[in-house]
Amino acid sequence: MAQSVVKEFTKGLWAEIPPFRLVLGLCPILAVTKSVENAIGMGLASAFVFVFSNLLVSMLRNIIPSKVRIAGYIIIIATFVTVVELVMQAYTYPLFLKLGIFIPLIVVNCIALGRAEAFACKNPPLASVADGLGMGVGYTLSLCVVGALRESLGNGTLFGHQVFGPDFQPFAFMLEAPGAFVCLGLVLCIMNLVGKK
């Protein structure tokens, strides 16, 4: 039992890490990865939603009629998104402002709905939580990797601290929209290189 829970958790960290292996949830990874700080904030907020929506969907999996299940999942997810929104507004207001509409948009992040449908609605709560947590942590990691790349190359900083010394000429392209696409594309390419047997 414990083993399978660990397995559900770890698969989100590498074997099915979003959005590289499961090409889902691309928008936030492009939009909020200007700095590692944003990335972590977004990642944790998403992880929170994944975990709790998975938990609730899993608990209600025998109650929700299958015809309206998608609508049900959306409402569950939206509820937790609202919770995250309010919490962040109250405690991390600057981050809340930076992330902007991407917090409410976690609702339409395919990962949340995809995991609810593909996993949580068929598995017991514990495994579902592990799955959600794995996906959440994996997603946060991915966001951080892209965020770290973009922040360090584009601004020369990490968490606001200089990393390359004062002579470094920031590569501002990375911070702009096109840089986000290219950066993500190259990270995906590296993942393919490493991951393909």
């Binding site: 691309l26 998104v81 339409v108 696409f181 290219v182």
Partner: protein
């Protein structure tokens, strides 16, 4: 009048919802492999975003605001968008089958297209008037369609090139999207 044109240009080109605001990327990469699919999706997006923009704007102004329950915005908007999409799908299927075969199959894809919810939320956030809201919804969605169709055209040609194996598919797609984004980036100096 001039303001509306500036707003439209800004929404279509400068703040292109796909390439500058990063909304609606999953279906963007999914449906851009073929020109045919891309045009269908683009039309469906325009249709739904304008409709959803109107309804959510009305809901916000006449329900959420007076009742002082704006914190329910996310919840109610997603519900409205989802129902709307489903309703439109059923309506088209029965009443205008020709249009349904063109657009209808793309409609479900739009429920989880963050561009729709995104535009609705932007409309509220920017506190647009009704007319501004109409212009922005329409222009944003046209911008989305434009980017999608351009991208599909390029993607159909990518098969001409020898793409290294690890870069194939989504990876090269993202890099290409980056290139288009550079082009759109150039519009920044326009307004």
């Amino acid at each position: 009048m001039g303001d509306y044109i500036v707003l439209a240009i800004s929404c279509i080109l400068i703040n292109n919802i796909l390439l500058a605001q990063f909304l609606g990327n999953c279906p963007f990469l999914g449906t851009s492999k073929k020109m045919e699919t891309a045009t269908g999706m683009a039309m469906a997006v325009v249709f739904v975003i304008v409709l959803a923009g109107i309804i959510t704007w009305v809901t916000e102004l006449y329900l959420l605001k007076p009742l002082d329950i704006e914190f329910l915005r996310t919840l109610s908007f997603i519900l409205i968008v989802a129902s709307l999409v489903q309703f439109v799908e059923m309506f088209l299927k029965k009443s205008i089958p020709a249009l349904y075969t063109g657009l209808g199959i793309f409609l479900p894809l739009i429920t989880t297209n963050c561009a729709v919810l995104g535009v609705c939320l932007i409309n509220i956030k920017e506190e647009y008037s009704f007319l501004e809201m109409l212009v922005s919804s329409f222009s944003y969605s046209v911008g989305y369609g434009l980017a999608l169709v351009l991208f599909a055209g390029i993607r159909e040609r990518i098969i001409l090139a020898r793409v290294p194996k690890p870069l194939q598919d989504t990876s090269i797609g993202l890099v290409t999207a980056g290139m288009i984004a550079i082009c759109f980036f150039a519009f920044k100096g326009m307004v």
